[in-house]
Symmetry: C2
Subunit: 661 residues, 2 copies
């Protein structure tokens, strides 16, 4: 073990293991997680060559191999709980996406939720046994966010009892679905339904795309890989062009909407029945943000304790770079962010399960808020984590660029979350719509509940205008609950500001859509402030659950740092809201420096507590034992360019050139 890391660990003020239990949600869950990890990591079948040294085709193939083995082994071990499947899958693929993701995560669940009982009989078991490998094809090359504009058509032909599917234009080609290019033999295709000459909107159809047995594309199907991307090298994101492809009437998913044999269309009982999956996935992404930024922090902070550079005191050895204030200022707020996002992720998961329970009991009341919150938090956390990973990478100097650090791979495989499952700006605007609706209700004296309940207070304030400034006494920077209060008031001010901006625009613009567009900067800003408040508040609430004093103290400092750093970065907002005075700004910096100083000795223990095994982290810089340089040299020697001492290009191009000049 690197002596610096050993010293850091010995000096920690709390028991790392206790904190790991809190992060996992209990010691039993820690135990089981580790058990599953050991199952995979100790399994020689899952040993693998470093993916960084493979071509894309080889990476895809290695992933298919692992996915196939994984399915076999999970059945063997009887792993069937969704969360355990997720752990197992995550270990097998080391947190990378894999070719069966859409089959397991979208195709099967969509069958369960939207297929009629007869359809489940027909399709589910073959899909469960991977005779049918499916994907979910919605997005088209020219259409993403606005699903009403999708162009793929499904026209019912009563003569043959078939739907005829078509991609009428280049812009209507299905584009991006994972596993579509090479892996799947079926796709759930979202298409505009026409029957009896009438248009009935978007519906889902099970379309066979490759022949069972030979896996060759079926007639009328043009299918393939969309080419290399930023990350996702293991995935065959694909395209699909349908040319008069006929499928039986029974292949339309008919649990809710139906087309009868005579072509009659029967409407679904509600149009919000697919709402849940979307909310679920976005809630999960909040947890993914926490994971991604945690991994990046582990690597950057461990490496910063190992790397020594320059001179702080003349004559003394080079200091650990973690002792530089600028390095702490880059990394420790991100470490605090990682913790904040973990707890918010836990909250979202719990809330989702609670509300799903309510929904099953017929109570939909909390769904709109969860919908709005999951959209905004998905956007907020993925943006912050995505940018944060890059800060971590660059804080490692040159070595952060090497694939042996794993940081490039963490970035490219995480950053797509900013776009998929709801483009972030669109998400922020959805949250804003909810905030403005709540604002209007609160203004009208209706009580709003949940995370937006602060809007009730605001509306009271407006009724007594004299009290506003009295209420907004400035924040106490040393008190976390005072900071939470400040975030709340900031959010409420920015929601109000956006609402007023919208009112002004409504008086000027032709349509309410134009007015909305003309104040969308303000709307996004309001959503951002709302999400920021929610995160600070949830982090703070979590502290109340922590019993161990030493762990509590360590987490309290992190929560304090998280809140204060946000004030520093958004000082204009807090000044504007009268929550902060100009002289206090200097205190913000001073207080931040003190917190960095306080957290610094615990920083290694705080990243250790995330409990990522080296095999999962796969980073030479982030190794638990800190033996960075020997392992980096060993890794480099395996680079494919080192397979021969002299590269072919020397004989082909350099040597002939030398003789000509």
């Amino acid at each position: 073990m690197n002596p610096d890391l050993r010293k850091e660990r010995e000096a920690a003020t709390f028991n790392t293991e206790l904190l790991t239990h809190i992060l996992d949600g209990g010691s039993e869950r820690t135990r089981r997680r580790r058990e599953i990890e050991s199952l995979v990591i100790g399994d020689p079948d899952f040993c693998h060559e470093d993916a960084n040294f493979l071509s894309r085709s080889e990476r895809y193939e290695a992933a298919v191999k692992k996915s196939a083995l994984m399915i076999m082994k999970m059945r063997e071990y009887g792993i069937s709980d969704p969360e355990e499947i997720y752990y197992y899958k995550c270990c097998v693929h080391r947190g990378r996406p894999e070719p069966l993701d859409l089959h397991l995560g979208m195709f099967l669940p969509t069958l369960l939720n939207q297929a009629s009982p007869e359809q489940q009989d027909t399709f589910f078991m073959p899909a469960w046994n991977l005779e049918i490998i499916g994907t979910y094809a919605q997005t088209e090359i020219g259409h993403g966010t606005h699903i009403r504009a999708l162009e793929t058509t499904a026209t019912f032909d009563p003569a043959t009892q078939e739907f005829v599917l078509n991609s009428p234009t280049v812009s209507s080609i299905k584009w991006w679905p994972g596993g579509l290019g090479k892996t799947s033999n079926h796709a759930i295709v979202l298409a505009q339904l026409y029957t009896q000459g009438q248009y009935h909107g978007l519906h889902a159809f099970i379309v066979p795309i490759r022949a069972m047995g030979t896996h060759e594309p079926l007639p009328g199907v043009v299918v393939g890989d969309i080419g290399p991307k930023f990350g996702f090298d293991e995935i065959d994101n694909g395209f699909l062009k349908l040319e008069n492809v006929r499928i039986p009437r029974e292949n339309m998913l008919m649990k809710y909407a139906k087309v009868e044999p005579d072509g009659r269309y029967i409407k679904p009982p509600s149009d919000k029945l697919t709402y849940g999956t979307m909310v679920f996935i976005r809630s999960m992404i909040v947890g993914e943000s926490a994971k991604a930024i945690s991994k990046a922090c582990i690597i950057a902070i461990r490496y910063s304790a190992v790397r020594r550079q320059s001179e702080l005191r003349p004559g003394e050895p080079e200091p650990q770079i973690l002792d530089y204030q600028t390095q702490q200022f880059k990394l420790l707020p991100l470490l605090a962010t990682a913790y904040a996002f973990h707890f918010v992720g836990q909250y979202m998961r719990q809330t989702y399960h609670r509300i799903t329970g309510d929904i099953n009991l017929g109570d939909f009341s909390e769904l709109p808020e969860l919908h709005a919150l999951s959209a905004g938090l998905k956007a907020f956390t993925t943006w912050v984590a995505s940018a944060g990973i890059e800060v971590c990478r660059m804080s490692c100097g040159g070595h952060g660029y090497s694939h042996c650090s794993s940081l490039p791979s963490i970035y490219v495989n995480f950053t797509p979350t900013c776009t998929y499952e709801g483009e972030n700006t669109v998400m922020m605007l959805q949250t804003a719509r909810y905030l403005l609706k709540s604002y209007t209700q609160a203004s009208a004296g209706q009580k709003v509940s949940g995370m937006v309940s602060y809007l009730n207070e605001m509306s009271q304030q407006r009724l007594q205008p004299q009290q506003v400034s009295a209420r907004n006494s400035t924040v106490n920077l040393k008190d976390l609950s005072s900071l939470v209060e400040a975030y709340k008031i900031r959010a409420s001010r920015l929601v109000e500001l956006a609402a007023k901006s919208l009112q002004t625009e409504l008086q000027l613009m032709k349509t309410k859509e134009d007015a909305w567009n003309h104040c969308s900067i303000d709307l996004v800003r309001a959503s951002d402030a709302h999400c920021h408040f929610v995160i600070v508040k949830l982090f703070c609430s979590k502290l109340a659950e922590v019993e161990d004093t030493a762990v509590h103290a360590a987490l309290y400092s992190l929560a304090h740092l998280y809140a204060l750093h946000g004030v520093y970065q958004n000082s204009g907002d807090f000044l504007q809201a009268g929550l902060l005075t100009v002289p206090q700004l200097t205190q913000v910096t001073q207080q931040l420096k003190e917190l960095l100083y306080q957290i610094r000795p615990n920083s290694i223990a705080l990243v250790d507590a995330f409990d990522y095994r080296d095999e999962m982290l796969n980073s030479v810089l982030g190794r638990y034992d800190g033996n960075v340089y020997d392992n980096m040299f060993e890794w480099a020697r395996k680079s494919p360019l080192n397979q021969t001492e002299v590269h072919n290009s020397f004989y082909k191009y350099l040597k002939p050139l030398q003789s000509k000049l």
Copy 2:
């Protein structure tokens, strides 16, 4: 041509060609640039397969091939002016780094600057003719920024008249030099010199590493590629371990320092003689930042004019996404940034040449400021451009992730500028050192000159404390020169704040190094504000040179947007300095929205003016003709995964699995 793009171009309020001349620095330079571009782009020898479809080894080989051809052809065409060589090289490699970069950019110039006349006779012509292919090996696996800590040793042995070079530890292995892994047969190695038992610090040695003719590594030399990285796939960044490698005494670069045959060491006349190259490269990087962010803006803005999505007005066709305020707010400030950085790059190039002229006449007076400015601006512009490229990429939705957009490649090949040639935080602190020195001088009544001359005014203000608030009347948001003034005062305040913070720490800390470290957050902030001021000021000054009224108006709006957007993002600073009042904040947003509205109709013309040919941009999304989707489909079909309809992994893993489940 896409009809939307045609309409955009027709509606522009200025002549694009005139603006291109301004960007190039004159119509004659535009003409010559285009001439050189045509030479390469029309040359069938340089036609190439899309690099995105190649393995790293193939990409390296393709680059070596092009580099070899390029050297031949430049000699053939008689291209020898450094700037023209740069253009030509850039076209051949489409702006990507290439294996001979270090040979051309570091090895040859170092020979010219640091080799004695006899050494030039020996080494220069062979290097010019590529018998000797060289690189520059300074950084070690465990040592970067702090070059005094480099561990490689060169010990003079008078018995054989040789230096003996050694890498005594793993951490001393040379690491990262471009072209070192496979391409070079020589390296200029920076090593700690020992002679007659005395240590004499870091010196440069020409070390043969591979045999002429066979290209096999020489005895005692362990050399190879350091493995795949984030970007730079064409480059064989390498490692070099030296084990008692002996080189003749004549291989130490001896223009300045010398070791005599008896081992006597002769000191160089000055230790600042290598200062210039560093300043030059950093100044050039400012221009590279401008190029990178320009390319990203061209792609994102053209695509945003082509892509239509969602609904603004019910019943109307989907709008161009460039009509969304949130999209404008992402992209147009970056477009303004691209212009700002172009003009700052021009200024740095001109200033460098002017000061080099002065230096040749023995006048070193302006060198320290240029050194400080190039460090800070290198950091400021690379950070902003790097983050900005990602904003552009994400503004393109899913397609921004595809390599066919070119955005991932622009990012990964540009982001290393944040680290190489001086790590950005270190750079900011170097600038801060200069600012604080100037502040101390100004405070003591000495007049400081150049970009920091505002510190003189500040010192006058302090003498008349009553006038401070009078002077800082709030900014006029509609007046660009008032904004420049505000940036100046902000910078001066933050320099003062950092200085005071340092004074406070000095009273508390043991050493001045500790004190410096404890206020480094404030120091970086001061440098950042200084650089920001310089950029706003230079952009504003440039406007005075623009004669054409229409072009002037278009650029004025951009400069205004650039300045105002910075106020929006750093409103806390401006409020703190009393330059802005709380009620004005709403006006800032309002004014920003008006500028977006004003610039929107010119945005395509403004990106066209950068005059990047499609062949250079290499982006399906950024095509001049806007025919995005057809070309994307065509591109995807060439993906290596589509070479066969059924991927091998089906037969190997999926089919066997299906039969087992």
